[in-house]
Symmetry: C2
Subunit: 241 residues, 2 copies
DNA sequence: TCCCTATTTTAGGCAAGACTAATTTGTTTC
DNA sequence: GAAACAAATTAGTCTTGCCTAAAATAGGGA
């Protein structure tokens, strides 16, 4: 019970930060169950029980046995700081260092725990105070504000819909390569067209790779077919019709 | 005894890497005593005994009880890799990110353990395959070659000696600031002059800060007085007279 | 209401890396 | 050669984070 408040200078462990980040990602109003957290972190459930107890003692989360974990304000603050590090790093590694989609995530996943606040600030300046990472995820501000995120999937749009790409799933690097070639990058405007407008050769190729394609025209380009699996990993802001 | 050889892919812990680096730094032919290592790492001697045993089991060092530790070839390779990371990072942070002398060392000390080989290669390219870090320390090549290091101190030169600055002690950031103002940076050519050539006002100022100054003229500049303490932290290559 | 099952927690272990206190060893000195 | 002292090692603990196996619990379905 005696929730130990320690000096803020003490660096939290990478493990601690990853737990808080994972809870932040999974919580949507209600508490995150042990098993969900275990899945996200690829760790045994029993280990999560132990760790979350310690996090609760430190005042970073609230824990309801058999229910799940919720971030406290302190915990949320840490999570957002780590996410800010992660996303600034990803953008930096992509833009300035030239890392591939493949390398981006892993490198940022490690470095996010080890850069100083001064480094964070330098990156922010150097990148001209960016608001989105290369996947289109919002970069939290230093004070913890987060921009809105798209919830609609490209795969769920209908003929004639116009939209702007918000963000892309970052699960699969190969898919990101593909999307880059298609011009389906965050910020791109697009329109869902009729399937007929697409050439047959392309149709065959796409159909082999990914079933049930959707026809899309990215602004300034030709109409093209995009596989449903692919289109499901593209999140868009639907334009008011 | 059964010295476990493990797959090279397994990342070594920061702690392990710091031990190897410290042994590399302290060994000069003969084994590094427990106490010396404990001092360098700011860790209790008993802890060092325990850790060095484990390092020996892993084949990274050789350990002679009551004598000390020596790096094996495998251990040396790791030490040089970490040092390469450290020095590339220091240069990068100074040149591209704009870190201060103060921030340089600490940041590099952490990040050296966490960057990927791909990142290392990118830094190397971006910096145009540098051979020296901001302090003038040689950057080991990927294959583990290390350039020669200066051993003579500016403080020990005599009137009329000419020399080129090799490297600077990296203990004290404030001192590095001072040296930068004096133009005493790695690569600078200099000449030790007669004390009389220096103005009296400067003499007084310098004498207050650091006793028993030495008179130095850096190429392209005016003669100036440099405190003995300061001059002791500047290592030079003496020019053949 | 009772039982089944998935989830969660408890119990017990382990490795890494640190600590302090006690003991041993090596070395120097008289 | 014994005593004294410094250095090193051993012994015993601690914390963090992970594991597996066993026990407990919550909640839905019969
Ligand atoms: Mn991480
Ligand atoms: Mn991202
Ligand atoms: Mn280090
Ligand atoms: Mn250096």
């Amino acid at each position: 019970m005696a929730q130990t408040i320690q000096e803020p200078s003490a660096r939290l462990s990478p493990s601690t930060e990853d737990y808080l980040k994972a809870i932040y990602k999974l919580e949507e109003g209600d508490p995150v169950p042990t098993k969900a957290l275990a899945g996200e972190l690829e760790i045994a459930a029993a280990s999560v029980t132990g760790m979350t107890k310690r996090l609760a003692e430190r005042g970073l989360i609230e824990r309801e046995p058999y229910k799940g974990a919720t971030l406290t304000d302190a915990g949320t603050k840490v999570a957002l700081e780590v996410i800010r590090h992660h996303r600034l790093l990803e953008l930096y590694l992509k833009e300035e260092i030239g890392h591939s989609w493949e390398e981006l995530h892993e490198e940022a996943e490690r470095l996010e725990h080890h850069i100083s606040e001064a480094f964070e600030d330098r990156l922010d300046e150097l990148l001209d105070h960016p608001t989105r990472d290369p996947h289109g995820h919002p970069i939290p501000t230093r004070s913890g504000e987060v921009e809105e995120t798209a919830t609609q999937r490209l795969a769920d749009l209908e003929d004639g819909d116009r939209a702007v790409v918000g963000h892309l799933s970052d699960k699969n690097p190969a898919l990101l390569e593909h999307l880059e070639e298609c011009g389906l990058m965050p910020g791109a405007s697009l329109e869902v067209t009729e399937a007929q407008e697409v050439t047959e050769a392309q149709e065959v190729a796409e159909a082999q790779a990914f079933e049930e394609p959707i026809a899309v025209r990215v602004e300034g380009g030709e109409p093209q077919l995009v596989g449903r699996v692919v289109a499901r990993s593209v999140f868009v802001f639907l334009a008011a019709s």
